[in-house]
Amino acid sequence: MELLNDLFFDYTLRTVAMGTAILGLVSGALGAFAFLRQQSLVGDAISHAALPGVVLAFMLTGLKGPLALMSGAAVAGIAGVLFVIAVTRLTRLKQDSALGIILSAFFGFGLMLLTFLQRNPDARQAGLNHFLFGQAATLLERDVMMMGVFGAAAVGLMLLFWKELKLLSFDRDFGASLGFPMTALEVLITLLLVIAIVIGLQAVGVILMSAMLVAPAAAARQWTDRLGVMVLLAALFGAAAGVVGTLLSSLGAGLSTGPVIVLCISVIALVSLLLAPNRGIVWTWLRNRRHAILATGLMGRG
């Protein structure tokens, strides 16, 4: 009860919860498309690849403002995606290897730059470190505003191209035969994914961002076969995990927000996988058991 009270009246907590709710909502909705296209781990690679962009943006502009760092992250993330596409198209390496290379090499490069910067006595590098695990507690109102604006833009574009993106996710070849520019749509959905990741980095960090793209979508998928319902549910799950995770982490010392949010969304995913009507693991198991019993019963009688 006191928690809810805090949510309404504690200014800092309210700001942070707002931020994580926006993050969960946007990444949940856009993650659904990545999930359906079996590109769930692309988000993981993009979020790692963003690190050198953040550090370079800081080195070049000397600013720690969210816009500069976010643009840097977005540019590096896009560069990473382009590289993954180039490697999978031009060599015989599979996507998993390409993702592994980009993820680790970009991240390593970012780490090298970051430590190089830290040895530099003039660098006001604190805050950059937080991009690893996120620092939701430091979200300011202007950060949340920024997240809101970009998040709304991403979700707006998703709604605007709803039909085309649906076609892309379920039957790419059919869409191409109808004359839709499928490659352009792929670029669009990837760009939207990059936006979702970039606005999430400050809150949950590079490492845990991938969970925010995969888990809400995986959970939502179990409850429905309709894309609209799935995207809505994924957004709701993501937002709920953001708010609940923020509240829980405000309870105890040593509970950083990012990991707690990830555990919340993981619990939602686990419950969905186990208990969702029809598809749930528990129901499937019970059904199989009943069939087995019936079958043995019939055999016994026969």
């Binding site: 781990l41 031009l90 290897s97 592994g100 290379i101 993820l103 390593g108 190089f116 888990a215 555990l263």
Partner: protein, 367 residues
């Protein structure tokens, strides 16, 4: 041994072990499993640490390897339910286990040597301070552990080379011969886990992925022979590790980060310049094919109209633009090339096939 030399030895040993298992992960399209394992082993380390309260205990290694296997089993179990695909299964399992580990550390293991920054970045620079005496030799702890792991890797690959090769390239045939693909698979995954834990201490969680995946991927673009691929992967891994060390010294930056950067740089070079599969070679091959095709078009066109009444019109350089829709520059270049190769010669603006050119054209027609 100086500290600098010891660090380099540790780096090379870690890179070698990673590069060996990496070959099989890349070939089996399981590179991202390395990413998952390298994160979740942390949970194994934390849990065992709570029991034994000692960061030097060999049990940590065993616990971490067990957690690696648990990760693989969970991912595969999820995959088998058909509720989510492999990529989403990986993306569900490892962040959850990793988050749990991070929370456990920050809540209950604060102040212990296990801090989260070390997990990410590795502390290679500090490795020589942590020493152990084995057979009367005073060695850095990390070097002893990594050497043991490397030895296990080499022995496993040597003993099961044939089986690994067959089950990697043709799992169905391997199963038909009675090798258990599952057993090899989990053996390999245990190996990856142990290697990840060993390297993890030295280079950190994320950069283990760089050492496992990137050298093997580079080697895969350079050869078709598994034996050569293993050797190349090791050479690239070890070379990147050394280059990374010196880059870090030069810049006063994190050693693991520099090593990962160097593996990426090597991959980029191979990606562009590899003799058979590099991007440049592919582009050159395409360009060459375009010219060859144009040459063949030209001589077939000439053969077709040779001696025919319209030869005086058809066999003129200017006419090719109209007939074959070639740009004037392109046509001129094709004719120059054809003349140089001795297939065609010009007489008063008229193109004629030489005997050699006629034979080529006839051969092309038959084909």
């Amino acid at each position: 041994m100086s500290a600098s030399l010891e660090i380099q030895l540790i780096a090379v040993t870690a890179a070698t072990g990673c590069a060996l298992v990496g070959v099989f992960l890349v070939l089996r399209s399981m590179a991202m499993m390395a990413d998952a394992i390298s994160h979740t082993v942390l949970l194994g380390i934390v849990l065992i640490f709570f029991i034994v309260q000692d960061l030097q205990s060999p049990w940590l290694l065993i616990g971490a390897a067990a957690m690696g296997l648990l990760t693989v089993s969970l991912v595969e179990a999820l995959n088998r339910t058909k509720l989510v695909k492999q990529d989403a299964a990986i993306g569900l399992v490892f962040p959850a286990l990793f988050s749990l580990a991070v929370i456990l550390i920050s809540r209950y293991a604060r102040g212990v040597h296990l801090d989260v920054d070390m997990v990410i970045m590795g502390e290679l620079a500090l490795a020589p301070f942590d020493r152990v005496t084995i057979f009367g030799l005073d060695l850095p702890h990390a070097l002893a552990t990594l050497s043991a792991i490397l030895l296990i890797n080499i022995v496993f690959i040597l003993v099961f080379y044939k089986e690994l090769k067959l089950s990697t390239f043709d799992p169905a045939l391997a199963a038909a011969f009675g090798f258990s693909p599952a057993l090899l698979h989990y053996g390999l995954m245990a190996l990856v886990s142990v290697t990840a834990v060993g390297a993890f201490d030295a280079v950190g969680a994320i950069l283990v992925v760089a050492l496992i995946v990137t050298p093997a991927a580079s080697a895969y673009l350079l050869t078709d022979d598994l034996r050569k691929m293993l050797l190349l992967s090791v050479a690239i891994g070890a070379g990147s590790a050394l280059a990374g060390y010196w880059l870090a010294r030069l810049l006063d930056a994190n050693i693991a980060g520099s090593m990962a950067t160097m593996t990426g740089v090597v991959f980029l070079i191979v990606f562009v310049l590899a003799p058979q599969r590099g991007v440049l070679t592919q582009l050159r091959r395409q360009a060459l094919q375009r010219w060859r095709f144009a040459q063949t078009m030209l001589i077939i066109h000439l053969l077709h109209h040779e001696g025919a009444p319209d030869a005086a019109v058809e066999c003129r350089a200017e006419h090719l633009q109209a007939h074959l829709r070639w740009q004037p520059d392109f046509a001129a270049q094709v004719i120059r090339d054809a003349e140089r190769s001795g297939a065609v010669h010009q007489e008063r603006g008229l193109l004629r096939l030489t005997d050699h050119g006629r034979r080529l054209a006839e051969a092309a027609m038959v084909r």
